[in-house]
């Protein structure tokens, strides 16, 4: 039975609103760039059919963009409303990328998206083209800064604890910005967005080809999407690999859980393609392994071992014990906290986050028993079966996209669109990038549990001190509100796909809205 406490409800609400927001973000990322590419072709060749394509895909983009913005404001609010102690504890570091995201990215995309829709008749061809590129640039900048922020949650570099303010504070902005996790995550995530945009365009293009409608627009759309999609699919898989490598340094437990690797394998570790993890016996049965592959991905070597879950639990238990001294010292600082942690306690301070895991078991952590410390150490294991399968399905989809785009690209090069069975396959692939993207976020965020900031703050400590009833109310509100909007959004997208692009001698294509009743 689901325990309806503040922590569970807040986590559920954040997960649902974030997954929901990420239904719209990848399409914005991919489609904005595809629009810029199509409009570039228009300006370079002067062929109005490309402008008609921009206007048609732009209508769908507009519907999606509005939902992305609306659901994004929810996310910005939610750190403050539901994770107030987290916001206080790490806001000094975490708030900055979010604010810069506003300054550099949101203003850019939101300001120019207005001109994208309303400025066709007021701007020159190159002027409007520049506007479209700026919208694409803005949305990509946005991804950069939010991922810098999220990467800091996964690998909290460049920060230190200040006993006088009882929070983490920034030591080095460059370390935060150039966090290796951020770099790989950014390219991986925007590539996933590009794949989503490409599959979206290809699927709808395939639909038109199957129906024998709008052939010229469909053919060109398929060509652009296939090429862009192939490059993106390769990028997303390569950068996924890169993410695995950086996580091998910073989040060993996450890697071990994704692999359902209970014991440390002798180097080079095998990659488990298939298996049935059992959390009770802490084993994985029916394993099908690919030799050496995990060692290569996680360590890029043949001789470094990849630690298993059980040895990592033992390390966690040590760290929990080690952090108690720092905890006791902090609790005793009273009204006049000192400016710095004493040098002798710096090592213990480094493990304070682990000691805080005990807070779930007892408030006076300094009196924890050995058994309780062992329990707290066990809580560092995330949900192994969910991670194991989410990761594998996501990767399988990634390779599927490479195959799909390769075939489509080959056909496009041969100026063919493919047989009906292939076009149907393309159409049926429409939901797949969304499934892959959401599974990816589940791996990233559910895999980081029990931490909200890895090694520094457990998730359960970061929640706001609000009545559970309030969170239940807002959660119910979001579920109702968002479900209704999703239905309407889908209805409108389908309606405009069915209507199709308009193009005629006077170039009057489908814009944002149908003409008003005269």
């Amino acid at each position: 039975m689901l325990d309806l406490d503040v922590v569970t409800l807040s986590r559920l609400q954040f997960a649902l609103t974030a997954l929901y927001h990420f239904l719209f973000v990848p399409l914005t990322l991919g489609l904005s760039l595809l629009l810029a590419i199509m409009e570039s072709v228009y300006v370079m060749t002067g062929r109005t059919i490309w402008r008609d394509m921009v206007k048609f895909w732009g209508t769908l983009f507009g519907i999606n963009f509005a939902m992305g913005v609306a659901t994004g404001i929810t996310m910005e609010f939610q750190f403050g409303t539901n994770w107030a102690y987290y916001s206080h504890y790490v806001g000094d570091i975490f708030g900055a990328p979010l604010a810069i995201e506003g300054l550099m990215a949101f203003f850019l995309e939101a300001t120019f998206v207005g001109l994208f829709f309303f400025g066709w008749n007021r701007l020159s061809r190159t002027g409007h083209l520049a506007v479209t590129w700026l919208v694409a640039l803005g949305s990509n900048f946005s991804a950069l800064w939010i991922l810098v922020a999220n990467s800091w949650m996964q690998n909290p570099v460049g920060a230190h604890f200040n006993p006088q303010t009882m929070r983490m504070e920034l030591s080095s902005f460059t370390e935060v910005l150039f966090n290796p996790v951020a770099q790989s995550k950014f390219v991986h995530t925007v590539s996933a967005g590009y794949v989503t945009g490409s599959v979206f365009v290809m699927a709808i293009g395939a639909y038109y080809m199957l129906r024998g409608r709008h052939r010229e627009i469909a053919r060109r759309s398929l060509t652009v999407a296939a090429s862009f999609g192939l490059a993106s699919a390769l990028s997303v898989v390569v950068l996924g690999d890169e993410s695995g490598y950086t996580a091998g340094f910073s989040q060993k437990m996450k890697i071990a859980a994704i692999e359902a690797m209970w014991e440390t394998e002798p180097a080079p570790a095998d990659f488990t393609l298939f298996g049935i993890p059992d959390t009770k016996t802490e084993t994985t049965s029916h394993e099908v392994k690919l030799p050496w592959l995990l060692g290569l991905i996680a360590t890029r070597s043949l001789d470094k071992p990849v630690p298993g879950i059980k040895p990592l639990v033992a390390v966690a238990e040590q760290r929990i014990r080690n952090g108690i001294d720092a905890y006791k010292w902090l609790a005793a600082t009273g009204d006049k906290p000192p400016a710095e942690v004493p040098e002798a306690l710096e090592g213990s301070m480094h493990d304070l986050g682990y000691t805080l895991l005990l807070k779930r078991i007892r408030p006076d952590v300094e009196n924890a028993t050995e058994a309780q410390m062992h329990d707290a150490a066990l809580s560092t294991i995330p949900d192994v079966p969910v991670l194991f399968w989410s990761f594998r399905i996501m990767v399988a989809l990634g390779f599927y996209f490479i195959a799909l785009f390769s075939a489509a690209f080959y056909l496009a090069c041969r100026r063919r669109c493919g047989k009906p069975w292939f076009l149907t396959l393309v159409l049926l692939s429409l939901p797949l990038p969304w499934i892959a993207a959401e599974l990816g976020w589940i791996v990233a965020e559910y895999g980081r549990q029990p931490w909200i900031i890895d090694g520094i703050m457990p998730t359960f400590l970061g929640v706001s001190n609000v009545p559970a009833g309030n969170v239940l109310f807002s959660l119910a509100g979001f579920v109702l509100f968002y479900s209704t909007l999703a239905v309407i959004d889908l209805f409108l997208i389908v309606k405009y796909v069915r209507l199709g692009p308009k193009s005629g001698p006077d170039g009057k294509a489908t814009g944002l809205f149908p003409a008003p009743a005269q």
């Binding site: 403050g80 102690y85 300001t111 309303f118 814009g511």
Partner: protein, 380 residues
């Protein structure tokens, strides 16, 4: 670090005010137009004209709000955390308003049925009214203080609820906010439309300005004579750590006017508020909408500045534990973060202002019936 901590905090207090004023001026006319949507336009054509005056610019305008929230998080994390979680249900209502607006605008004209449009029109109206009202209510509560305290680890406990926020003074401030943003929306609509619609918008704007004048004065008198303000007794070191527990605070009748007594140049804020509202009312009456819009914007700036200068250095006073109140001197981010954020702002804000101006220039001129007919396929 070239700038000392106290100065950085002062600068960031000013910047927070600038962002708040920027939001009220820029997104204020979008919210105001939404509130006027059921009343000023008399037919479907005029409704579409209104929607298309804000159509090209409202998404950019909204980012002033997003940035304000982001800046609060980055520069004043305890304020962001305390106000957003403390005002939980109120923030949820504001959020619903902000979610309704983009969907109402985008979805409204996409289906030809009349009841579809009416439904979204109602949603659009609420998307303007609810945030406008709640912002005023929230601001009003800053003068009264709200009940919260911190423990030794600076963990927050907020002791109040939604009903506590809806007290008479705060509701009055909510009405001030609604009047102010309606005036702003009406001035903008008068400027960007023509003929009957523009004239009607002007009349509504004059009434809103008159209402603002009366309500603002009432609120001011109430603050002066009816509210016990907060005063620092042992002030925190302006360059000290951000720990609200290290000071003591008392309450005193008329304390909220202290800053005006001490530094009379602060009076430029209320003077600006009054001068602007009178200029807006007169300019609308005499059909000079550009002057009206400028006057209205100056008035908006003046009203918000009046409140901010009065509260300084308090950001969020605590009514249950005054000593735990959040002030400019003990609720900020670290010196390094404030410095880096200042650098980022100094680089990007001018760029933002430049391209925003360019967009307004490209979209200059009025929206008329013939615009709607000519460009029907690209408009709201």
């Amino acid at each position: 670090m070239p700038i000392d901590y106290g100065t950085l905090r002062l600068i960031w207090w000013l910047l927070l005010g600038v962002l708040l004023i920027g939001f009220a001026i820029m997104d204020g006319f979008d919210l105001g137009a939404a509130m006027l949507h059921p009343f000023v336009p008399r037919n479907e054509k005029e409704r579409r004209i209104l929607l298309n005056t804000i159509g090209p610019v409202w998404e950019g305008n909204q980012i002033w709000f997003v940035l304000g929230g982001g800046a609060a998080f980055a520069a004043w994390p305890p304020l962001y955390a305390t106000s957003f979680s403390g005002f939980y249900l109120a923030m949820f209502l504001v959020l619903c308003g902000f979610i309704l607006r983009p969907v109402a605008l985008t979805f409204r004209s996409k289906v030809e049925a009349a009841n579809w449009r009416q439904g979204w029109d109602r949603a659009f109206f609420l998307s303007g009214l609810v945030p406008s009202l709640i912002f005023g209510v929230a601001f009003g509560n800053l003068f009264l203080g709200v009940p919260f305290h911190f423990d030794h680890e600076l963990r927050l406990t907020y002791e109040g609820g939604l009903l506590g926020l809806l007290n008479p003074f705060a509701l009055l401030c909510g009405l001030v906010s609604v009047a102010m943003l309606t005036m702003q929306g009406a001035s903008y609509l008068a400027l960007k439309s023509e003929g009957e619609l523009s004239a009607r918008a002007g009349r509504f704007g004059t009434w809103a300005a008159a209402a603002l004048l009366v309500l603002f004065t009432l609120a001011g008198l109430w603050v002066a004579f009816g509210i016990e303000g907060y005063v620092l007794q042992s002030a925190p070191d302006p360059a000290g750590p951000s720990n609200p527990l290290l000071k003591s605070v008392g309450r005193q009748a008329g304390a909220w006017l202290e800053n005006y007594h001490r530094q009379s140049w602060n009076l430029t804020a209320p003077v600006l508020a009054y001068a602007g509202v009178i200029a807006a009312a007169l300019a609308l009456r005499f059909k000079a909408p550009l002057i009206a819009f400028i006057g209205s914007s100056l008035s908006v700036a003046g009203v918000i500045a009046t409140a901010g200068l009065s509260l300084f250095p308090f950001l969020l006073p605590s009514s249950s534990q005054p000593g735990h109140s959040l002030t400019v001197w003990d609720a900020s981010s670290s010196q390094l973060t404030l410095f880096i954020m200042l650098g980022a702002t100094l680089v990007f804000l001018p760029i933002v202002l430049a391209y925003t101006s360019w967009v307004f220039a490209v979209m200059r001129g009025t929206v008329t019936e013939s615009t709607i007919e000519r460009e029907a396929d690209t408009l709201y």
